[in-house]
Symmetry: C2
Subunit: 325 residues, 2 copies
DNA sequence: TTGTAGGCGTTATCAA
DNA sequence: TTGATAACGCCTACAA
């Protein structure tokens, strides 16, 4: 293996000079510069980032920790992160928690062992703080960003979409289409999150009473259990708080001879391939997954560089009108 | 930062002994073991993997290099890789070529700089060999696996699904459903790949004449240009060589009042969310994406450990019967 | 079973 | 503008 010292010898300079040239820290004489460049080419030198990291006590590695990567939204966010990190020559580690099944402590230890420069958590750890205690007590001030988690600010920067606005957009759209009996359909959504959606509805409708909430339980059959409920209640517009569920519900409605958009309008939450494939294609609220990743990465980089950053970044969703509403 | 030396001092042993204990290389006396464990806990010691890597001249980092991660198939494969690597305590780097836009040389250099233990290429580099020359000349014998690339074996292990078998399964299924006028529909498929599909058709049909091939060009409208062709030719079964295209084609057929399965049966290639969401749900050939990732990772690990491995691994696709055929 | 000493490849601190 | 020297934290002969 060709090392920096070999280059130094071959170019008749000190290792120190070569290092300075490589890091373009301080000015180096043109003449020596040429000698060094020649040596590097002739010997086929490749710098050793590991040795550098040991000495400098920092890596260029960022870890993304998420439940699983084979998921529309997470992989879109991750791609956004990758894009930004790539631009700044940082590397991207992926840790799938569902596969690894490591505890929070073990993950943090892993990050330390590998001298990770920053951690982006995507949609994880519902408890209030990620080992704030450990970070404080042990003095491991490793930069962290929470992406796509709506929790109260607790010292770690947060990046997430504005769910109130998402709900408001959906409701406004349905109202504009003349739909007045609106239901929100969801599946295992925590109450606090649901509250945001209800708030958005109120803001859009000026109706103190919230929307009709329909929770789809696990064993429930959409055609048998859910559609009749919608029909009985004369629902003419639904906002489905999960894209997959929206696709299934739409399918069941079509099967029940309900005219989508005309009889019942459907707006879905999330703009992935799912909404495009459904028939009819789903009008939906785009939560800006990629942008979320990009911003998360930028905040991590700001932290690493000790620059200022927003503690809480709220992304504005946009509505994408297609054929279902 | 607490180092191994600190542990040694605190436990009244030498650094060497601590190192041995940590790597559980050689037996250590129970008594000293206890002392060391205590010291580690008391001081909150975290090993430094970077220093270890420098000394041992090897990391536990595997790189996956792919066009983009926000893609059904690639993210599924990657998740399989992640699963296997996680089990063996290897870390996973992701490099998105579409974002990075690095040349082959630059990627290889990046891998060397970071002392990557192995590289898995997913669906990349159509040319015959990944810098075989460089690997040979410079002596960088870094383990490599090509996943999901059907190229001739050139010294680097290959893992890919059996496309002939995939085509055979699809054709057999269509024939069993009484479909005799079968078309293969594709979009920008290279000729060599197409040849595999034709071969599968022949094997299933005992018909020397291949299937009717319909290529969908970029500007083509399915309803206007494609469906009439199918109808004119009295096609009663199609095998669509791209899942997204299958979804769109199915949608267009439904719109044209063609009875899917009865009038024209549709089999799609690939079993992602797309086939499930389509209506009707698509009968499809599952190419075993996750398994492909798992096997690729295992082969990389075998190479690293200097164990034997299959140079070419061909995965058997399976048919998933749903409602479109 | 344990300890000593040297080095992995790089950079930081001085001094020249 | 450059060089000598000493680390960074760990592992590995070799010796005890």
């Amino acid at each position: 293996m060709v090392t920096l010292k070999d280059i130094a010898k071959h170019a008749n300079v000190s290792a120190c000079t070569v290092s300075r040239f490589l890091n373009s820290d301080i000015v180096v004489k043109k003449e020596t510069e040429a000698k060094i460049q020649l040596a590097i080419k002739e010997l086929g030198y490749v710098p050793n980032v590991v040795a550098k990291a040991l000495k400098r006590r920092e890596t260029f590695n960022i870890a993304v920790i998420l439940p699983k990567i084979n998921n529309q939204y997470y992989s879109e966010m991750t791609s956004g992160i990758s894009q930004t990190l790539g631009k700044h020559h940082y590397n991207l580690f992926i840790y799938e928690v569902d596969n690894l099944k490591l505890s929070e402590d073990e993950i943090l230890q892993l990050m330390r062992e590998n001298m990770i420069a920053g951690i982006i958590f995507i949609g994880l750890f519902s408890d209030m703080s990620f080992k704030e205690s450990i970070q404080d007590v042990v003095g491991w001030k490793i930069p962290v960003v929470y992406a796509n988690r709506r929790i109260a600010y607790n010292g770690f920067p947060l990046v997430y979409p504005d769910m109130v606005q998402a709900s408001k957009l959906a409701t406004e759209h349905l109202l504009a289409k003349g739909k007045n009996r609106i239901a929100f359909v969801h599946k295992h959504l925590p109450n606090d999150l649901l509250a945001y959606f209800e708030e958005g509805y109120r803001q859009a409708s000026n109706n103190e009473q919230g929307p009709i909430i329909l929770k789809v339980d696990n064993g429930m059959d959409l055609s048998q259990d859910c559609i009749p409920m919608l029909l009985e209640r004369n629902i003419d517009g639904v906002f489905v708080l999960n894209e997959m569920l929206a696709a299934h519900l739409t399918k069941a409605l079509v099967k029940a001879d309900v005219q989508i958009a005309d009889d019942i309008a459907v707006v879905s939450l999330g703009n992935s391939i799912i909404s495009q494939i459904s028939s009819p294609e789903l009008t939906c609220i785009d939560l800006q997954d990629r942008e979320l990743g990009i911003q998360s990465a930028e905040i991590i980089l700001s932290q690493i560089r000790k620059q200022a950053y927003e503690p809480v970044t709220v992304l504005e969703p946009i509505i994408v009108e297609r054929n279902s509403a």
